[in-house]
């Protein structure tokens, strides 16, 4: 062999060795032995500068200290970018081992994830029975379990400002008895010189705050295969018209087309707004905008359409999932389990006011003694429904919010906007 060729082969072999040594960052462990190796977790919670972010980071630290076989590294990602990051890393073959998403997003990203039914089964019946039925339902899509959900919650509770209502002479129990009563309360607040309510309608994500009104209006959103059919029923059209009317009939809410989540929080936190819907995390955000507002706020259920009727509370949780081409899924599962223990969920309930997904935690002081959490737990128990989800949900919500914006801003008559949206939904 000529010296040049030998030299080239030797160089390539060296390069291959070097690359193999630093490519995966861990062995992934022996498939038959106990899980070990490096685990990389991509989580928006780690990007949270508040108590929850610190809590999630502490889980990584304590897990790493508790054993030496698995080393977890956290990577913070902004909430809005988590999906893009998951898809990009999955497509480029550099997926992390764990990604934090929400349970309603599982259907969107199922193509890039691996089901974890066998891990659940391997843990035994006691492990599965420790979780609430609704938690398991949230983690299930297309007949498979996709991870372990924690930090359950709903955004469908009604925050009200006691001072604003008092000035308008509004009694909260009467106000939330029915849609008609609620509308009268909004009118009273308007007449007293304050803003009755802020309502989101700026982007597709805003539609998550609309679902509960549709459920209260008589739309059944329990079967993903029936979403389109249900959202085109007369009950849905009446709800669409009612929600549109909150702006068009006397501006009981500021133009929702310009209100996204940040605007919603800022406006409500000014202290001159009567109502807003938000999750338990909302309180901290309002106080972040206006430290003094907490004492003025109360929280209750949303109004049913008719007195005594049903209300809705769309339920969604954080779920840790394992991408399809994760390098170390077994070790990833071990850390996912660690983040969903009773102790971890008690800490989550304390730090963020989230409803636990393990039954035993409901008895803990962190949950039982927390009034805000008790309100949300009751709402989920009585009115909870799985937040609508599906592979085409992003398009569906875009169509619905565009129709809503068109009707609210007078681009189209309400009926036309609704029918056009239904036409588009049926073509999906």
């Amino acid at each position: 062999m000529p010296p040049k060729s030998r030299h080239a082969i030797a160089s390539m072999a060296t390069l291959a060795l070097v690359l193999s040594g630093c490519s995966s960052g861990g062995s992934g462990g022996d498939a038959s032995g106990p899980p070990s190796g490096d685990v990389r977790i991509l989580s928006w919670r780690l990007a949270d500068p508040g108590a929850l972010g610190k809590l999630h980071q502490s889980w990584i630290d304590s897990f790493n200290q508790s054993q030496s076989a698995i080393k977890v590294t956290g990577e913070p990602v902004p909430f809005a970018d988590k999906g893009t990051k998951l898809v990009n890393t999955a497509l480029s073959g550099s997926a992390p081992d764990i990604v934090a998403i929400t349970t309603s997003e599982v259907a969107n990203y199922a193509n890039y994830l691996q089901p974890v039914d066998e891990y659940w089964q391997a843990e035994g019946a006691d492990f599965a029975s420790a979780f609430t039925d609704s938690a398991k339902e949230l983690a299930t899509w297309d007949g498979h379990l996709w991870g372990i959900p924690i930090e359950d919650g709903t955004s469908d509770a009604l925050y009200y400002n006691k001072k604003v209502l008092a000035k308008a002479g509004v009694d909260i129990e009467t106000a939330v008895a029915s849609w008609d009563n609620f509308r009268s309360a909004l009118q009273a607040v308007k007449a007293s010189g304050n803003t009755p309510m802020v309502f989101q309608g700026k982007d597709a994500a805003s539609f998550e705050r609309h679902w509960a009104w549709y459920v209260a209006g008589g739309v059944d959103l329990n079967d993903p295969d029936q979403y389109v059919k249900q959202m085109c029923t007369p009950a849905a059209e009446q709800t669409f018209a009612w929600l549109t009317g909150l702006y068009t009939d006397g501006e009981l809410v500021p133009n929702p087309s310009g209100i996204g989540y940040n605007e919603l929080n800022r406006q409500f936190a000014t202290g001159n707004v009567g109502f807003v819907t938000d999750g338990p995390w909302g309180l901290g955000i309002f106080e972040g905008n206006n430290a003094a507002i907490g004492a003025d706020l109360g929280v209750t259920r949303m109004p049913p359409k008719e007195a005594g009727g049903r209300t809705g509370a769309n339920e969604d949780a954080l779920i840790f999932v394992i991408p399809k081409n994760a390098k170390n899924p077994r070790a990833a599962w071990e850390f996912i389990k660690y983040m969903s223990t009773d102790q971890a969920q008690e800490a989550s309930a304390e730090a963020g006011g989230f409803v636990p997904t393990r039954k035993a935690v409901f008895q803990s002081p962190a949950v039982a003694d927390n009034d805000l959490l008790a309100t949300y737990s009751k709402l989920i128990e009585e009115s909870g429904f799985v937040r609508p989800r599906g592979p085409k949900m992003a398009e569906m919500m875009q169509i619905l919010i565009t129709a809503y914006q068109a009707a609210v801003t007078g681009q189209k008559p309400v009926g036309t906007a609704f029918r056009d949206a239904c036409g588009e939904l049926e073509r999906l």
Partner: protein
């Protein structure tokens, strides 16, 4: 001016060789011909040495991604980004719902033409003012550049804050001046929002045009202006007959560039309105993003991106030819 005077020695030698050959129809002696070839070869090698690395870099950074993306629009990318050839499937899927494209296409045209026309008008006006005798001219030149040096997303966030329906600066001023009674949802109104994004784009884009046109204005000989004045030409006549011919090629160039920037603009629109309300500000660029990252319809997104590329290419070639023809004239 004779090109060979200003060109690099190698180029001049090559040019001289070509001229020489053209000027003498009879075959040169073999010695002269081989000397010319030798010079030509040396010149080519020199060019390759200087331009080769740049060409490789451009092929890698520009050529490959463009060709890859164009190929991707014909591949089965919906299947976890498989690169298996799929013919026109993606284009058929994209064009099967023309209603989802017509709105963004018309919005793109409005945004592009609106922002280019306004940017050119303001940029030209500012350049003319700064080219004259103005006290504090240097200060103004620097101040006008500010919007251009600020990152696009920061500019967009700034405009979002100004236009905020609740705590926005514009509403605050108008309320204090009693021009409005209650806050206006500037970005929530489909009749107003498209114009807000145009204003934001113009604010960011006009300084570049101003600087380029200012440079062009400074190449127009002052003697010509003075001669025209002596001949009795007024300001408008001087502009039309002296200034405009001098800056027209640059005007077309910056107009084309600004048009391209506006055509593919994403950040400003995404931050300000996200394509809403009611789709009033949804443009092709935001539609590509939505198709790709939100709906995961990769094939449709790549087909639309490829169509955008072709449209931009055709428009650029047309305008550049116009500029070249202008220069030649």
């Amino acid at each position: 001016m004779d090109d060979s005077h200003s060109a690099a020695p190698g180029v001049a030698a090559a040019g001289a060789a070509v001229h020489h050959a053209a000027g003498r129809p009879s075959s040169p002696t073999p010695t002269r011909r081989s000397r010319s070839r030798g010079r030509l070869g040396a010149s080519l090698r020199l060019r390759l040495v200087f331009f080769g690395p740049l060409l490789v870099l451009m092929a890698g950074l520009l050529g490959f991604p463009i060709l890859f993306a164009l190929y991707g629009s014909f591949a089965d990318v919906n299947n976890l980004f498989s690169l298996k050839f799929a013919g026109l499937t993606n284009y058929e899927s994209l064009l099967s719902r023309p209603d989802t494209l017509s709105g963004p296409f018309l919005n793109t045209l409005r945004f592009t033409f609106g922002s280019v026309i306004l940017s050119l008008a303001i940029g030209l006006g500012a350049a003319l003012v700064l080219n004259g005798r103005l006290r504090g001219r240097r200060l103004f030149r620097s101040a006008f550049m500010l919007p251009w040096v600020v990152p696009t997303v920061v500019t967009a966030l700034l405009w979002r804050w100004i236009m905020d329906s609740n705590a926005g600066a514009l509403n605050g001023i108008l309320l204090q001046l009693h021009i409005i009674d209650e806050p206006v949802s500037w970005l929530g109104d489909p009749r107003i929002a498209p114009w807000i994004i145009i204003v934001a784009q113009v604010w960011r884009g006009f300084p570049f045009i101003m600087v380029m046109l200012l440079a062009a204005l400074q190449t127009v000989p002052a003697e010509l202006q003075e001669a025209a004045s002596v001949d009795g030409a007024g300001p408008l006549r001087r502009f039309v007959s002296v200034t405009w011919p001098g800056i027209r090629p640059i005007f077309i160039l910056v107009g084309t560039l600004e048009g391209l920037y506006a055509f593919r603009e994403f950040a400003t629109i995404d931050v300000l309105t996200g394509g809403g309300p009611a789709g009033a500000t949804e443009v092709l660029a935001t539609q590509v993003y939505r198709l790709f990252f939100q709906y995961h319809r990769f094939g449709d997104a790549m087909a639309l991106a490829a169509l955008m590329f072709v449209l931009a290419l055709v428009a650029t070639v047309f305008l550049m030819r116009l500029a070249v023809r202008d220069e030649e004239a």
